[in-house]
Symmetry: C2
Subunit: 434 residues, 2 copies
Amino acid sequence: MIPYQIIEKKSRGDVLNDGEIRDFINGYTDGSIPDYQMSALLMAIFIRGMNTDETLSLTRCMLESGERMDFGALPGFIADKHSTGGVGDKISILLAPIMAVLGVYIPMISGRGLGHSGGTLDKLESIPGFNVNLSLEEWRKLVMEEHVGLIGQTGTICPADKKIYSLRDVTATVRSIPLISASIMSKKIAEGIQGLVLDVKTGNGAFMQSLDDSRTLAKSLVHIGNGYGIKTTALITDMNQPLGKAIGNWFEIRESVLGLQGDGPEDVMEITYALGAEILQMANPDLSREEAIKRQKKTISDGSAFEKLLKIVALQGGDPKVLENMETYPKTRYRESIKANQSGYLTHIDTMAMGFAGIQLGAGRRVISDRIDYSSGMYIHKRLGEKVDAGAEVLTLYSNDENALKEVKKQLSTSLSFTDSPAAIPPLIVEKIQ
Amino acid sequence: MIPYQIIEKKSRGDVLNDGEIRDFINGYTDGSIPDYQMSALLMAIFIRGMNTDETLSLTRCMLESGERMDFGALPGFIADKHSTGGVGDKISILLAPIMAVLGVYIPMISGRGLGHSGGTLDKLESIPGFNVNLSLEEWRKLVMEEHVGLIGQTGTICPADKKIYSLRDVTATVRSIPLISASIMSKKIAEGIQGLVLDVKTGNGAFMQSLDDSRTLAKSLVHIGNGYGIKTTALITDMNQPLGKAIGNWFEIRESVLGLQGDGPEDVMEITYALGAEILQMANPDLSREEAIKRQKKTISDGSAFEKLLKIVALQGGDPKVLENMETYPKTRYRESIKANQSGYLTHIDTMAMGFAGIQLGAGRRVISDRIDYSSGMYIHKRLGEKVDAGAEVLTLYSNDENALKEVKKQLSTSLSFTDSPAAIPPLIVEKIQ
């Protein structure tokens, strides 16, 4: 079957078989199929979709294009957590050390900022010296000895996904459930994990904004994970407002540290514990949810989770002192406040606009070559449903770019809505898919 | 508007505005938008379609990407004919000299073989020495002095179309009504013509197999032509069997010469005269169809149309002697016959299979770098509806490639169906769109 015919078949909406998917993905990975044919196929998949068999085939091809970790017989459960991405989502930075302290092995491969959404790797790199580019061997050693290692996708893990991902990013084919599913799951399966908890975001700051789409994505991810013998559950969680108060790389590291020191925002802690409980219950099905949460809280109150983060930071080349003395971190030159222009209940936050505003302030990249300004970002002081007095500060913006700051201030002044009476607030954890 | 957002908009099925189409096409033509983004947009257009305004914008962008001929005030009507492509379609080679003799100026820019379908340029090049790569200036002079010049698309005529066309050809986005419409019409409008007759093929040997699709395409083409002030009509004609008996480059030139000598197949002559009558009636609305056909027949009976062809061939570097002594043309080394395996009425011909078979015999290119064997091809001796006796020869295949010949003989033996009683035969000229 020639590439042309495979593209044509999918463009008609027909189902591709395993061999066709394999030939095309392998041909693209080895360079015999050019970018322009792959982008035509990606667009056909984007519009026509893929069924679960096709998605499984695609996942398998991506997985088999590279190395797959095998930790062998470790004296503990090997698991990971993945979020589909939102604004202010720093959960991995809290969850990884908590799980490590509780005996779980977390071989975490994370991503960078994407679209309006931040990335764990960028956040970690705001810690001076932190190295996310360990070799697979160094990382493996770290996971086995310290229970956790935090790296980015290497050239040898799912190279097919890596190549296809960059193409999707410039051809408007990112937001496709089968393509997202195969991309996420191939990398997670390659980690050699036994359990996976997915945080599938829904709402106006998520890639999948409708609950229906989020549910479809969650089911697709869980289906693939279970198909590979990985215990997989997904929590669909609300992204109609930023998670926590901090948006921006260092600000989010700071908020994570506060969380590990017992001073984190309620929503951040609730999601951390809920995802952690999923992992702990996978590792030990007899454990109650209450007990799973209690154990996690203890790693905060006794300081062991924060100690673990400091250790990991140090082992990955970072400077732990800046986490112990956070006021020493460089400040931005400029700041601006956005105040409520009326009294009322905060009923709507344009979360995606906030994510894009963060990028404009310097916290993300507009093009791949942009350098991130780790000190920039914003704090949101009010939450959906909260009563706000006219003139109260709702957002504080920080940037080293005075023009961007002014521009963002103007843009975000229309990103909040207030009503006279309190409106229904979406639940933080919407539902569980397993 | 960035390319990404334009692709995304079309992938959702939204309508692109003129500025968006212009930015994308210009960006692609000047190289600032890469192939892979254009192929994603082409696939989105292929699946989602374009409305008439979008198609007009696309046509305009392609047209304005290059030179547009202007013949100024010529003492005669300037017109052209275009076929959407089929098997055995050699009408241009007869029609151009007939029209030229009758005073019409025919600045004809033709194409090469495409998919299963042959191309006028390839056929002309089977005449030793014939040069289809004249400069626009040489061509212009030929048209003005001899009323007809036969060339291929140059780099300066619709370069945007040329670049997009090659990409469509390898990304399975050829068979799209808006893309076909803009591609055909931009080139025809660039010829500087006043009238255009379109031969839109329908049936199992056409790119648009259903009458509905053919009608939609015809209407789209006519709409664009009229929008540019060109008198445009379309005949939808049957392509459920090859046109004439000859398939293959030299064989089709030979059949055209026979036609101009008064010995052409009935269907070839009927379509030639019908298309010619359209042009003559555009040039002179008072002329009756009968008179228009009578005048054309006279150019055959008095030998003037054949004389004109000989002159054009000579002026474009070709050897006219081979047209006067056609038996001197090189023959293929091998030939094979396919005979009817039963008696009955011929009710079905797999016309597309015949087109592809011609390519396999050497008459077309499988990849762009293939060299055509101009002597190869086939003759079909029976027509739909004809009573055939068991054992009668239906097809004669000619090739210099013995293996290909055997392969094609096997393939084509199932390409014909017979029934005991005569079935309804589709009309040759189905309808007229204006």
